[in-house]
Amino acid sequence: MTTTLLGVNGVWKSFDDHPVLRGIDLTVERHQAVVLIGASGSGKSTLLRCINGLETVDAGSIFLDGDVEVTSFDTDLDAVRRRVGMVFQSYNLFPHMTVLENIVLGPQKVLGRQRRESVEIARGLLTRFGLDGKASEYPDRLSGGQAQRVAIVRALAMEPELMLFDEITSALDPLLVGEVLDAVRELKTAGLTLVMATHEMTFARDVADRVCFLHDGIVLEQGPPEQVFGHPQQAQTQLFLSRLAR
């Protein structure tokens, strides 16, 4: 039996008078991987930022684990973000800290873990993601693929229940995309719940349990990847996929 980890109900969000999200509904079950697709500017990043409270919504609600309302004015958002990891297109590693310091900052300062324990966990994760020997490097010495894997490890060190990936391979050299996607695959296998915006259709087909197409501020179409990619029902979805295929 599956349980719902994330519930997005009728979320609206505009910037100034420009509506971006216009009543988004989305449910994510535990251990599922949900892929968000949609044209650039369709609001994928905005939706992901609303989910961990980096952005406030104008209407609607977002629930984590059925009982924590992210969108409530009384919720401790730091507590929510402890449970939700996020990785960005541009890595956003802290350039003044070594790889190791980047990773242990959260566990030490937010979770109050001992230094020794945090370092031990960080080293274990670095090994697991093929980053042995990078612990004392500064981010500017890493390739894009390494930097993005460090960013994943940094989020993972907080032991989140839900991971949000915002086009994490879009800034990468094509040769380096594979190693980052392998890391995501590994997280999926390990049973983490994932919501990811991506344009990597082959990968989405392979890993996603569900694909959601965002258009005009709503989830216009969703379903298993073979259905959405193979037999898209909506004209807009067909148009988007045909443009992407070119």
Binding site: R81, Y91, N92, F94, K109, D140, R154, A155, M158
Partner: protein
């Protein structure tokens, strides 16, 4: 000596020795040409200046060797006061500047008073000439004859420099805080760090690094502006030069004082330039962050 060309693909940095010799020879020739041209320039200027009708008078009044030898040790001794003013003012300015810059970033309504005070402070002290602040504090406060208030001119002169420069440095720090990309805050917050922790561990360390070159430039001016305290009377280097010059009607002591300032500011300027070029190249190497 036989020249061995490494096999293609060898893991060495190979440079053709003949090419290297040519490059070195050219560098030597360029250096020599530069020196010759500079020397010619100096000779021409010296000849022109010494042939100018007013030169002997100028030399006598500004570059008098005997005057220089007589007054320079006194100037150096007086300069020690400038150095002390600088050393006390500098750390205080950093503290004031950082606190004011931080106060201006506070968003909570509870801190509105702090924000208002900080903004007013910067607006006022950036607008008023430093020398005016020195007059106001140095002559004004002692005139109040308040119990327990220091009457020392050096104290008030230093306080005026701290207030005046604190406002500038606060703006430098604020620019540094603004220069940290918003995505850094976003990444920190998404790890669950609080606003305070985000500032302390992520934003401020980067902000401070970014403003080291402009801060050094401000300290170069501060070092010169310690001479402004002379208007209040303490015998620092400018006042000493003034006293010496007025007793002999010879201006060599002023030139001596100028030399002392230059001797200190030139290394500081070079150091500031160096940090600037270093941070620029580091940022270029950083690429995406």
């Amino acid at each position: 000596m036989s020249i061995v060309v490494p096999a293609p693909g060898a893991a060495v940095a190979y440079v053709d020795p003949a090419r290297r010799a040519r490059v070195r020879a050219r560098a030597r020739r360029d250096a020599l040409r530069g020196m010759v041209s500079l020397l010619a320039f100096v000779v021409v200027i010296s000849v022109v200046v010494s042939l100018t009708p007013g030169w002997p008078a100028v030399r006598e009044t500004f570059f008098n060797g005997q005057e220089f030898i007589a007054t320079f040790p006194g100037l150096l001794k007086a300069f020690w006061l400038n150095v002390r003013i600088f050393l006390i003012a500098e750390p205080l300015i950093l503290v004031v500047g950082l606190l004011v810059a931080l106060a201006r970033t506070l968003k909570s309504p509870l801190f509105l008073p702090a924000r208002v005070v900080a903004t007013l402070y910067v607006d006022i002290f950036r607008g008023v000439p430093t020398i005016l602040v020195i007059f106001l504090l140095g002559f004004g406060v002692p005139a109040l004859r308040l119990q327990g208030m220091p009457k020392d001119a050096v104290f008030w002169g230093t306080a005026a420099l701290v207030l005046s420069y604190g406002a500038y440095v606060a703006e430098v720090f604020r620019a540094g805080i603004d220069s940290v990309h918003p995505s850094q805050r976003m990444a920190a917050r998404s790890l669950g760090l609080s606003l305070l922790q985000t500032n302390r561990y992520v934003v401020l360390p980067q902000a401070v690094r970014n403003v080291v070159p402009p801060l050094l430039n401000d300290f170069i001016s501060l070092q010169k502006d310690t001479a402004l305290v002379a208007v209040l009377g303490p015998i620092e280097v400018l006042r000493r030069a003034q006293i010496d010059a007025s007793s002999t009607f010879n201006y060599t002591p002023y030139v001596g004082a100028a030399l002392i300032f230059i001797a200190l500011t030139i290394p500081m300027t070079r150091f500031a330039d160096w940090t600037q070029s270093r941070s620029r190249s580091r940022r270029r190497a950083g690429g995406v962050s």
